[in-house]
């Protein structure tokens, strides 16, 4: 069961890093100048185009060349977080841009500052709009913590692998492992769905696309 805790740690740290990086990236994409926007676009494009496994290996083998040594766990968190930030940035950007321009103008016309308008008008709506795609991204990050296996991190899957080599029941072991992941993804989805429902306001977020 220790493996499950490691998986949770990978998940929370990876997703958290994604949020911490994703929000400023989204801001940069929206409010930044041309250079900043271009750099962020390249960053997102590259991280979204390379398999996570490759990102993990590049970090794991690449950073020591720069004189930075860290355990595989840290490389895994960095990889999960960096990649997720590229996706989350798009989620946040989309949510912010979906708030109509006229609401911003209306806020300014009442005498709000740009910062007030952002916090009182745009943010409360953007959060609601971002929840469903964010839940989706969270589930992806959780499932992809299993790739840390390849770096030798003893997370849920690797622990299962060790258990399997000691027992003759590989099917039972891996089905159990799958079940644990399943419970975790379902919990994330239902948890965030509950948050979404709790914050529900008529007319916001109803335009969610298919699938």
């Amino acid at each position: 069961m220790e493996g499950a805790l490691v998986t949770l740690r990978l998940f929370i740290a990876g997703l958290g890093l994604g949020v911490v990086l994703g929000i400023p990236l989204a801001f940069g994409q929206i409010y930044g100048n041309k250079l900043i926007r271009g750099l962020i676009a390249v960053y997102e494009r590259v991280l979204r185009s390379i398999p996570l496994l490759v990102i993990l290996f590049l970090l794991y083998y690449g950073l020591p060349l720069l004189g930075i040594r860290f355990p595989p766990m840290v490389a895994a968190i960095l990889g999960l977080g960096l990649r997720s930030s590229a996706y989350q940035s798009q989620i946040f950007r989309g949510a912010i841009l979906s708030i109509s321009e006229s609401q911003l103008k209306a806020a300014l016309s009442l005498g709000m500052t740009g910062i007030q308008a952002f916090f009182h008008i745009i943010l409360p709506q953007a959060i609601r709009i971002a929840i469903p795609p964010f839940a989706n991204e969270a589930a992806i990050v959780l499932k992809d913590t299993s790739l840390a296996y390849a770096l030798g991190v003893i997370e849920l899957l690797r622990q299962g692998y060790y258990v399997m080599t000691n027992t003759a029941e590989p099917l039972a072991v891996f089905v159990a492992i799958g079940a644990i992941y399943f419970v975790m993804t379902v919990s994330i989805n239902t948890g965030l769905a509950r948050v979404e429902k709790g914050l529900k306001i008529p007319g916001i977020g109803v335009e969610e696309g298919i699938g």
């Binding site: 103008k105 209306a106 009442l110 005498g111 709506q125 306001i201 007319g203 916001i204």
Partner: protein, 252 residues
């Protein structure tokens, strides 16, 4: 009779890229006056309104709210509190109820206490006939109701002047009347208003003056009788004739 000047615009210019939208607009508005700006679309009417509270800053020219120069003021948010703005597409905050839409400027900008702000908000909603809808979200309101909330939101700030940017253009015909009625009552109560609108009947009966704008300049301005019955410019006559034909005298 002392005429107190609320708004004075001098020689306003604005271009977007190569396109010169405003080419030297000057006008003024006294306390309690209602002026309606008419003209073909794309002639800078809306840009002019957006210039007045600096949502779109002008390239050149001066705008005075009473004796403060809006274009150079260091406290723009203060100025904007004193100029109400009603948008064509309402600009309601979708995450707030009708009452909270009206309140938010009071609590967040004017830092009014919640209870006091709520009372004032209800008062303004009553004024536009929506006290029963105070708890509803924008998505639950009709277009006409949304626009009336938009007006109540502007009123609650106790502005010296309200700008209306085609307030009924996004509405279904059967909903226009309720909004025009509210505006008519405001005019009667002595609110100072500058209105961009295509509603000729309304302009004719409510306004003190009609301003005809075309291609970024004011072609002619005068009392409704003067513009309708005895326009000095041929263009004015043509335009008013066409528009009245198109929109009828509805809402008058």
């Amino acid at each position: 009779m002392t005429e107190q000047m609320i708004l004075r615009i001098e020689d306003l210019y604005k271009s977007f890229g190569d396109h010169e939208v405003l080419k030297g607009i000057s006008l003024s508005l006294n306390k309690g006056e209602t002026k309606v700006v008419v003209g073909p679309s794309g002639t800078g009417k809306s840009t002019m309104l957006n210039n007045i509270n600096m949502l779109i800053p002008p390239d050149q020219g001066r705008i005075y709210l009473e004796d403060v120069d809006v274009t150079t003021t260091t406290d723009l948010t203060k100025i904007r509190q004193e100029i109400g703005f009603v948008f064509q597409d309402f600009g309601l905050f979708d995450h707030l109820t009708a009452r909270d839409n009206v309140m938010i400027g009071l609590t967040r900008v004017k830092k009014m206490a919640g209870k006091e702000a709520a009372e004032l908000a209800m008062l303004e909603l009553r004024r536009v006939g929506l006290e029963k809808h105070a708890g509803q979200y924008p998505a639950e309101l009709s277009g006409g109701q949304k626009q009336r909330v938009g007006i109540a939101r502007a009123l609650a700030m106790q502005p010296k002047l309200i700008l209306f940017d085609e307030p009924t253009s996004a509405l279904d015909p059967e909903l226009i009347g309720e909004v025009l009625t509210v505006m008519k009552n405001l005019a009667r109560d002595g609110m100072t208003m500058l209105i961009v609108s295509h509603e000729m009947g309304f302009a004719r009966t409510v306004s003190d003056q009609i301003i005809f704008m075309e291609n970024g300049v004011i072609v002619e301005q005068g009392s409704p009788e003067q513009l309708f019955n005895n326009p000095q410019q041929e263009r004015t006559r043509e335009f008013l004739f066409k528009l009245t034909d198109l929109y009828g005298e509805g809402g008058g």
